[in-house]
Amino acid sequence: MYRDVNTPGARSSKSPATNGSCRRIRHSAGARDHHSHTVTTATVSVREEHWASAALTMAMATQVKPSLHVEVRLKNVAGTFVRTDLVRLLVQDLTAMSD
């Protein structure tokens, strides 16, 4: 979603118009919107020393995907394991005895 301005490739995106004091972070919101096939882009210019916090703010703001919470209730796993384990040992013992 964000171009890391610290990477060498990103440094080429420094805007000459801002005389190096600002960098551009291209932000594409809704790029994975497969239904509408539209890509919304917004270009923001931020001061170099604040770009990280601005990106964080934008990341939080663009975290628009809702979370669907699913609860999985487990049976008594420890008890199940113990019983299964005991049965396995019993079968092993019986097999050894029959041998």
């Binding site: 995907k65 979370s67 669907l68 699913v70 609860e71 999985v72 209730r73 487990l74």
Partner: protein, 405 residues
Amino acid sequence: MRDEVSDWLSHHFLHLKIDQEVKDYGKRGHHYITNTSAYKETDRLNHGNIIDSIYVVDCSGSDSDSTFFTLEDVHLDVQAYELHDPVDSASAGPDRNNSTPTSDGEEEDRGAHVRVTQLPSKHLVGIWDSLIFDDPIPAQLLRFTTRMMSIMKHKDLNPTIMNWNRLILLYGPPGTGKTSLCRALAQKLTIRLGKQFTHGKLVEVNSQTMLSKWFGESGKLVGKMFEQIHAMADDEDSLVCVLIDEVETLTGSREKAASGNEVGDALRATNQLLTALDRLRHRPNVMVFCTSNLLAAIDSAFLDRVDIKQYIPNPCASAAYEIFRSCFNEMIRCKLLVPVDDPSDVAEDHSPDAPMQQQPDSDWELMKSVSFPTLAEVNIRLWNRPYSPGRKLCSLAQRCEVSSH
């Protein structure tokens, strides 16, 4: 387990609905695929034999009122949990070795100061769903606390900038479900934050036993109690939820105490509690819930530390109807209440909007077929049947609302 269930749901479902129980995870079957208009054979979950149930419970971050969600549009947050047996619960009393003897040789009252319950607990199953409020207060509180607990657990976050005391106060008239809501929140938080905390504990503080008849002892008892909580919080994988019921007992206004002729022991207890709460701030795995009926009696310094002050009002008519309805439906489910086809009930209705004779007793049919109708069903289907069970219950709920104000 979480990843397995998440993958399985993503592969076999296109849509899920809130409150939907997902079934057939333990056996092979067929599932209808909408976009291909075909049935696809579903695989069973590898660990399906140890799963008791799978429920879609909530959706956070959505502006829509819809309860129906396409999985492409949401992030699946799957939490697996195991219920602890009530026998795991333990109670902790005061240190008996340090109990204070009285002048005639008796020992101080040794009532338990805290009661500890392992979470998630079998005792608290269903308590969340039984809570009915006018506004979605429980869901809002759960989302806020979950979000803040996740954010504040980040190790690089500067706590002096992000000031959060992990303190929630619920206040309002008695009998409105404040304590139950706190217990339910603790249970839900433990489940929802399962990726961060492997287990949880609910520490219920008995405020009344904290105040001692011995001068200076109340502050010590509060201090000892919080030492126990600190010891529990040493286990960073454990979420410790502290519930202080009737918190005004321990946090009475110091100004009022000073202006009156009260002895300074309660004041010391308040000071000790405030100090202890400040120390708990640095524990990322501790959450403190408090309840009170008397907000005006609470010390302003304590109120200043509270992150959320939530008023819990008396239920409105629709909430009261839902509470009554849930009670009656439970009795119907247990066959304690059996609907009887009694046409005289309808015959008694001599009002102008009485039901026509040729109409069947749809209200009784509705009740017999499923359960007590919802309020929407009452308003739509039973509006002209004032003697139907639904309408009678509705008028009862309205009278309750009037009497509570």
